[in-house]
Amino acid sequence: MSDFTFTIDGVEVPAKRGQTILEAADAAGIYIPRLCWAKDLAPGGHCRVCTVLVNGRPQSACTHPAGPGMVVDHDTAELRAWRKNIVEMLFVEGNHYCMFCEKSGNCELQALGYRMGMTTPKYPYMFPQRTVDATHPDVMVDHNRCIACGRCVRASRDLDGKNVFQFVQRGHHVRVAVNADGGLGRTNLSAADQAAQLCPVGAILIKRVGYAVPVGRRLYDVKPIGSEIEAKRAPAPSGK
């Protein structure tokens, strides 16, 4: 049962009190692109890919509570352009080599790039010098691919109760650090932890399981990202 309704692009959407715009949209089968958001995690508001207009003002759908009568713009040319710009920014900020990354086909950043029709980023690559941490027996961290979405930080703190990861530094120097001198191998992270599982890109990888699914059958080879949410949408009346 819904408590109230609001509109997304003119479509009436039911919502419960306390639900965010993104949650209500998901339930209604409207896919708002997102990267730093993950089910069961408190929203972070890092990536801003889910930016929508709430009564004309930009807000992140993952953090903004739905409200009765709210007017939300979502699938407009302007918003699509801003979101695509952010995805392109994330591509040039790190070193993302999809062709040999084992996350390829299952990577949410790559999948969003495809869904948004990105061919090559319009921005210059930054080619940062970043490190790889392979000190843990079962999990590796490749900072080259990190998009600072903070999922691992929140998952480790809120779901695993461990605080293995945390942001350090500031501005464009921000990176995810681990709770020990000497790398991930010195922390109490286990491969089964949510923090090790929830990375949307190939920055945190479980060792010895890469390339298990052949190209063509990987998650986003089959259907674009967001399809599972859109599948929930009531079929549009025929005769378009």
Partner: protein
């Protein structure tokens, strides 16, 4: 030692800023081992301590010299040839910025604006502000610092007013050029409080609303409404925070308030505490103004003795209120209210998404009001002299006076208290900057206004400003000014959200390309698109205004950009393509020039 420091703050993790500061004061830096101990003592995690240490510019996880010299990199200092001062320091010390002398005595750093724009180039040597530095003074300063081992001995000539007090002991000058009736008028201690406690908290709020007092930080939110939200928010415990973290380049008016009329501020904080039902007040003082803390602490102690703070303030039973000064540590973003609250809690100063707003869930998730220093001073005066008196000063939507921090290319830089509603032309006449080509109104996050718009009025109706007014003379390269401002935002972005963290770097890259004479006509649209994306999608006010140095000059000084652009080449090649540069590597390897080009 580290354990002792933690114990001094009750092993309270919300006091992380103080613990880290004290550990650094003792050891010069916060080592990994120290982070481990701090984490254990306050029941936190090492990586969380590391997150805090590496967030703030004034904390260091690497060993520093015994003394740290931080030269301001503010654009106003650059206007006064700060780069020559930096060179002089580098030459004398034999190190580059970021380095430490081999004897471990002195570390040299650059820092963002330190609020001494009207008396620059300036630096903080340890916590001591040193003003009007010229290259020829550098040698003497360093010799003296090395000999005495105490930066306070560098202060030879004391500034005027309270700067000369023993507890302040500073060479900083106030430079108050114009006194108005609201901020720089005399005040009898307790007068505002007495009037406030004679009426109900709701009546105090009504009075502030009637005065139409709006926040002085720049956004102009009605103060009375903010107080009312917090008063009506659920929860018994409420918090009042004063934002004394003025970090906008070109702003220094709060420094002068804190030096000359801190009593008015404490009065305002107490009135606000009464109105919203708070027992606790926090004064978040920017780390750059640490030299004022002993004086402020002393004044608070005096007010406690006079019963103007503490239990039953001014004899009003049931009204308990006290104030603590919390030091920041060099992070502009902490001027954003939700980031400031995080910092008060001992965390990284990253802003929060709103809602919930601080008035519902702020400090420790309690309803919290964050007001600017000047706003609280105005509130004290409203209670002292009446809402009607206040409302008749200024203009319709902008009542009262406004403090302006004036720097740059003008004959009379300093602090001015002026009624709202003045045009820029009148303002420039007042400060002696009639020949300006532009005024940066509201600092880098504000607007770069060109001569054609000097008829515009200062106030919330037209040109809002937190008070930073940088006069840009006709001789200046406007793109160089924009570039300095972008550098500032790249440096000060907290890094939480993608558009601000990455977008500002990209804006700066393209601006530099244009400045180097390698820009293409389409780069202007590219920049406009980037600026819009960052402004519209960033999480907080910093990101939402950070592209303004480029966005507003693209609008008001488009010709300055166009003059730098490459035009189409006659040979049809890409204008940006430099054949010689492209072949240089091959030329070097082969040792011969290309046959044809």
């Amino acid at each position: 030692m580290v354990k002792e420091v933690a114990a001094r703050y009750g092993k309270d993790r919300t006091r992380m800023m103080d613990i880290v500061r004290d550990v650094q004061a003792r050891f010069g830096h916060i080592s990994g081992a120290a982070m481990d101990i701090i984490a254990r003592e306050v029941n936190s995690h090492r990586v969380e301590v590391e997150g805090v240490v590496t967030f703030y510019a004034f904390y260091s996880e690497k060993p520093n010299g015994r003394h740290v010299i931080r030269i301001t990199d503010c654009v106003t200092a650059r206007m006064r040839h700060a780069e020559e001062v930096v060179e002089a320091f580098e030459k004398e010390l034999g190190i580059k910025v970021g380095g430490t002398t081999p004897d471990g005595q002195i570390t040299l750093e650059m820092t963002s604006c330190i609020g001494l724009c009207d008396q620059g180039p300036a630096a903080l040597i340890d916590d001591v502000p040193v003003t009007y530095i010229t290259p020829d003074k550098v040698k003497g300063l360093l010799r003296h610092l090395r000999e005495s081992g105490d930066a306070t001995t560098l202060v030879k000539t004391l500034g005027e007013g309270n700067n000369a007090l023993d507890l302040v002991h500073s060479m900083v000058i106030n430079n108050i050029r114009k006194r108005g009736d609201v901020i720089f008028a005399s005040l009898e201690a307790g007068a505002s409080i007495k009037n406030a406690i004679a009426i109900s908290p709701n009546e105090v709020i009504r009075s502030v609303k009637t005065a139409r007092l709006r926040g002085r930080g720049g956004a102009g939110f009605p103060a009375g409404m903010k107080w009312e939200f917090a008063r009506n928010a659920a929860g018994k415990r409420k918090i009042l925070v004063c934002n004394a973290d003025e970090g906008e380049p070109g702003t220094f008016k709060d420094r002068v308030i804190l030096t000359e009329v801190p009593g008015l501020l404490f009065e305002g904080m107490t009135v606000a505490g009464y109105a919203i039902g708070a027992a606790e007040g926090l004064l978040y003082l920017r780390g750059e103004y640490a030299y004022l803390k002993p004086y402020l602490d002393h004044l608070l102690e005096q007010r406690r003795a006079k019963k103007l703070l503490g239990k039953s303030v001014a004899g009003k039973s049931g009204f308990d209120f006290d104030i603590r000064v919390q030091l920041g540590a060099g992070a502009y973003v902490c001027g954003e209210e939700s980031a400031l609250i995080r910092s008060c809690e001992g965390l990284r100063g990253s802003p929060r998404d709103r809602p919930p707003f601080p008035v519902e869930k702020g400090y420790l998730d309690l309803p919290t009001v964050v007001n600017n220093v000047e706003t609280l001073c105005c509130a004290a005066r409203v209670l002292e002299k009446g809402a009607g008196w206040f409302a008749q000063i200024g203009s319709e939507q902008s009542s009262g006076t406004k403090l302006f921090s004036v720097s740059g290319d003008c004959r009379r830089p300093g602090v001015y208290e002026l009624p709202f509603g003045m045009t820029l032309t009148e303002f420039l006449r007042e400060v002696g900057g009639d020949d300006a080509q532009a005024v940066q109104v509201g600092g880098p996050s504000g607007t770069c206004v060109d001569r054609g718009q000097f008829g515009r009025k200062l106030g919330f109706e037209d040109l809002p400003t937190g008070g930073s007014m940088i006069v840009i003379g006709p001789q200046r390269d406007i793109l160089a000014v924009a570039s300095a401002f972008m550098e500032f935002f790249v440096e000060e972005s907290c890094g939480w959200c993608a558009p601000c963290r990455i977008g500002n770097v990209l804006i700066q890259e393209r601006l530099e390309r244009i400045r180097a004479g390698k820009g293409l006509p389409e780069d202007l649209m590219y920049l406009e698109d980037l600026c819009t994306t960052v402004k519209k999608t960033s999480r907080c006010g910093l990101g939402q205004t950070s592209p303004n140095p480029v966005a507003t000059t693209l609008q008001n000084f488009r010709k300055a950009y166009e003059a730098k652009l490459l035009s189409a080449r006659e040979d049809g090649r890409q204008p940006t393509f430099d054949l010689r540069a492209a072949l240089s590597e091959a030329v070097r390897v082969q040792g011969r020039e290309p046959v044809a080009h």
